[in-house]
Subunit: 211 residues, 2 copies
Amino acid sequence: MRYQLHYWPGIQGRGEFVRLALEDAGAAYASKPPEDRYRAFAPPYLKAGRLVIAQTANILFYLGPRLGLAPKSEARRLWLHQQQLTIADWITEVHDTHHPIGSGLYYEEQKREAKRRTEDFRRNRLPKFLSYFEDDAGGFSYVDLSLFQMIEGLRYAFPVTMRRLEPRYGKLVAIHDRVARRPGISRYLSSGRRIAFNQHGIFRHYPELDR
Amino acid sequence: MRYQLHYWPGIQGRGEFVRLALEDAGAAYASKPPEDRYRAFAPPYLKAGRLVIAQTANILFYLGPRLGLAPKSEARRLWLHQQQLTIADWITEVHDTHHPIGSGLYYEEQKREAKRRTEDFRRNRLPKFLSYFEDDAGGFSYVDLSLFQMIEGLRYAFPVTMRRLEPRYGKLVAIHDRVARRPGISRYLSSGRRIAFNQHGIFRHYPELDR
């Protein structure tokens, strides 16, 4: 099966969580921009034969067993999906640190609110998410790939905060490091296909929002 | 199978989307408060035999075919789940209209930001979500039950805005009305089990946030 991943060019964004799974598995896929004729509320969406699947966690739920990144048992798949949906909530909260008022407005138009929201995020929400996933156990799956991306992105967006918090979350950091050493991922990260973090994606570095 | 739905007592919240499915199907279930021993980032979660499933959309994905509220084909289930996840995003945006800075703060502590965020929600996001689901087609499923709840909740939270917008979304209103007439739902709505909307849930009515 040759997949088509439709997503905005130039940013990692939510598409990156799918891309990491495809790259880790060495799957054949093409990156395409979004097209109007496919019915989805927002990208990313994946074309797999005649199927068009949107919502990042839904795509990973579909791909998981097909790429060898999830077991086939229903109970286990539901559990991994529950974890991935919790990561999806986490991603939304990261996005909203710099866009607490509206995604159609510039950061500069909501800077004051962003500062307040990020303070709450750094103090309350970020440690809550990190603690939750620190206790995660179980074999390797696509969820680990997404946790790798969360740590990478949070380090880019909040370097000072993460340097302070990371020592408390050794298991999460270990997951991150193990993922980085996987052949498909390490090949991908050093390839031209990995877009660098930048100020247009979900993870953005505004020094005034970091501590 | 006798289910246990664990959720905060006293509010409809996200638990209500699950409850509507159980009630429509006439399933046997008990409502319980959350318990610490079950590992989930947040309620609601469903106990089904030995399984404990969290994340509202994930619970509905599991229950759908078992309650006769979703077909069994994978393609169709993925599509319904995609729709339900888009509703989940919508719910989060509704919640954030009155809590744009932090869910641990009172509304009164973020009133100014709430006003700005809600203005953007009413003007841009709400019509975008309504239009998206207005174009939805297909047989009856648990997604219709959730769309019913969205319309109910939005009418409670934003009565002025909804009176203005609803005439443009006749198909969505028709889905709402059809759901209200379903035997299980109409029985449930007039029972003591349906908690009234109030100022502690996701849908809250603050006149200053409505137009």
